[in-house]
């Protein structure tokens, strides 16, 4: 008889989405719904901090009550909170594309993400994943005035459908092999038919890489980011990746990734391809969102380096990196949304330092962080990941990391360079520079300050992430007996 555990945050978010749905059904009022969404998210955040949780005796153990879930869950909620605050820009004005359901879908996406981070069972993982995916799908298609949004959504739908199907099929094969739906990579050393299990693990990994948009499964990301609104793009690029990565880390936590095997080789290859491919893809882009897509892909590659270096820093460095990545990327999107919502072409960012010095400065801070240069938090994050890689003797990966992050430097800096220089004659930008709303400006300020402060004083976050290794005995699947 095992204890089943339902995370507080999941409950709160469930209830919150219910309340939001009811509120919308009763009467539509965008501002109220936005505030409601913020309240729900804050409540969920508070509930993560609460030590008690609902325990049920005898049900399926679906979630793990550990610090890793709390950490990733809090990160997800915070990122969505930032995205909500970012979207108020459009919500308060008469822009009808941001209305009540938008906030409901954001809550649902959070629900899915938080559920995924705590999942230790295929069922809960799958439910979380699909809640997240479907909510994201709705959000991507949300900007329905634009034909692009439909195309982006369709692309995401098809590819995430394929990814889900692949992953689920992998689960089915693993289940056929081990007879357990608990979250664990099967130990195939003495399985009767290891080929089925291996195939299952590889399919699961492939599905996850699809969703994480790692190279060579990355083609959808740029289109989706380009086709949708800026806050949703941030959601796709940040929140969904945090959730997936958290789940993936938990899934593989019971495996010694130092030993070569089929799945380790796949992760290795994908990591290398993602680092190089993402950065090379970003270098040639002229569209800021596509550039960020490339950058996001590359960061997934860096995270995979941490992933492949489990001892002793792996989990901690990945946690730290996720936080750093989330802050900086959301910051970039927030500034984009606040200052140049139409400025997808990077040429329109010419001379931003003249037009909006504060925003340009904040943007530079974010980009510096993404590039991994001190004093921004991204520097420490990259340092931490490299430390993990060095300690695990991932020489090849590290060399690729160095090479590709040098490439990455190029386009981040080029963007700063563009912001510093005025537009060449005759190619003046026609995109309108807007002033961010107070909420938006406050968000950007907070994010920029966080980027710098965490870069200078990373010890609190490091302490949290280190605590993840110490305090979280990640679950190991109980071996199933053959009947």
């Amino acid at each position: 008889m095992s204890f089943s555990f339902l995370p507080n945050a999941v409950l709160v978010l469930c209830l919150g989405s219910l309340v939001q749905l009811a509120a919308i059904s009763w009467r539509r009022h965008v501002a109220r719904d936005a505030i409601l969404c913020v309240i729900v998210l804050v409540a969920a955040l508070a509930s993560i901090m609460m030590p008690t949780a609902l325990l049920m005796n005898g049900a399926l153990p679906l979630f793990a009550p550990d610090t890793w879930a709390s950490f990733a869950g809090a990160l997800i909620i915070l990122s969505v909170l930032a995205i909500v605050l970012m979207s108020r820009h459009g919500a308060i004005s008469a822009d009808p594309t941001v209305n009540s359901e938008y906030f409901l879908l954001l809550t649902l996406a959070t629900l899915g993400g938080v559920a995924m981070t705590g999942a230790v069972h295929f069922i809960s993982f799958f439910l979380g994943l699909e809640t997240l995916s479907l909510a994201l799908l709705g959000l991507i298609a949300f900007q329905n005035k634009r034909l692009d949004a439909g195309e982006a959504a369709m692309k995401y739908l098809l590819l995430s459908g394929v990814a889900s199907a692949t992953m689920v099929f992998g689960f089915a094969l693993i289940y056929a092999e081990t007879g357990s739906l608990r979250f664990a990579v099967p130990d195939l050393s003495h399985a009767p038919e290891p080929i089925i299990g291996t195939m299952g693990v590889i399919l699961v990994l492939t599905g996850m890489f699809f969703k994480l948009s790692a190279v060579p499964f990355h083609l959808w990301l740029a289109d989706v980011l380009e086709g949708t609104s800026v806050p949703v793009a941030a959601l796709v690029a940040v929140t969904s990746k945090i959730a997936l990565f958290a789940a993936m880390l938990r899934y593989f936590s019971s495996v010694n990734l130092g030993v070569p095997s089929a799945q380790v080789n796949e992760i290795l290859i994908v990591a290398i391809l993602s680092m190089l491919g993402g950065n090379l893809m970003a270098v040639v882009q002229t569209d800021l969102r596509r550039l960020l897509a490339g950058s996001s892909i590359a960061h997934v590659g860096y995270l995979l380096v941490a992933f492949l270096s489990p001892v002793p820093f792996g989990v901690a460095s990945a946690a730290f990196y996720l936080a750093a990545y989330a802050i900086s990327t959301i910051g970039v999107f927030a500034i984009m949304n606040g200052v140049l919502p139409q400025g997808t072409d990077i040429r329109e960012w010419h001379g931003l330092f003249r037009r909006k010095p504060a925003a340009a400065l904040a943007m530079s801070v974010m980009l510096v962080s993404l590039a991994g240069i001190p004093p921004a938090v991204g520097f420490f994050a990259k340092f931490y990941i490299v430390a993990a890689g060095v300690s695990a003797h991932q020489t090849l990966l590290l060399l690729v990391l160095i090479l590709s992050s040098t490439i990455g430097l190029f386009y981040y800096l080029r963007l700063i360079l563009i912001m510093l220089t005025p537009a060449p004659a005759g190619r003046e930008s026609h995109a309108e520079v807007t002033s961010p709303t107070p909420v938006n400006a406050a968000l950007i300020t907070v994010l920029a300050c966080a980027t710098i402060l965490l870069g200078i004083c990373p010890s609190t976050l490091v302490q949290h992430s280190q605590a993840l290794i110490v305090a979280s005995p990640l679950p190991v699947a109980a071996p199933t007996q053959l009947p």
């Binding site: 369709m154 739908l157 098809l158 692949t166 099929f169 083609l219 740029a222």
Partner: protein, 103 residues
């Protein structure tokens, strides 16, 4: 009724899955691509049922229901998006025309 051979069912599932994957890759009609992903999901369902049968546990069937529910939701949203695109002025289902995004 005798129980189906799990391995046979698994093989069928693998074939279905491959067909679905092939369909997504080869077909250019959005609806058919959507259907192909559904076929892939159904292959997973079949595999779950077969596996559940192999271990004499209900877990496989539970997972089956989850997957079916997801497949339904996914196709529902997919159809809605296709409708939306139609209403927004795209009168074809050919996936190759969906290249306004530069990818």
């Amino acid at each position: 009724m005798t129980a189906a051979d799990p391995n046979g069912a698994l093989i069928v599932a693998v074939i279905l899955f491959s067909l679905g994957a092939l369909g997504v890759l080869v077909r250019r009609n959005l609806l058919f691509m959507l259907m192909s992903t559904e076929i892939m999901l159904n292959a997973a369902c079949l595999a779950f049922i077969a596996a559940g049968n192999r271990w004499h546990m209900a877990d496989g069937q539970v997972m089956f229901m989850m997957v079916v529910a997801f497949a339904a939701a996914e196709s529902a949203v997919g159809l809605a998006i296709i409708l939306r695109m139609h209403a927004a002025g795209r009168s074809t289902l050919d996936a190759d025309t969906g290249n306004r995004l530069g990818g």
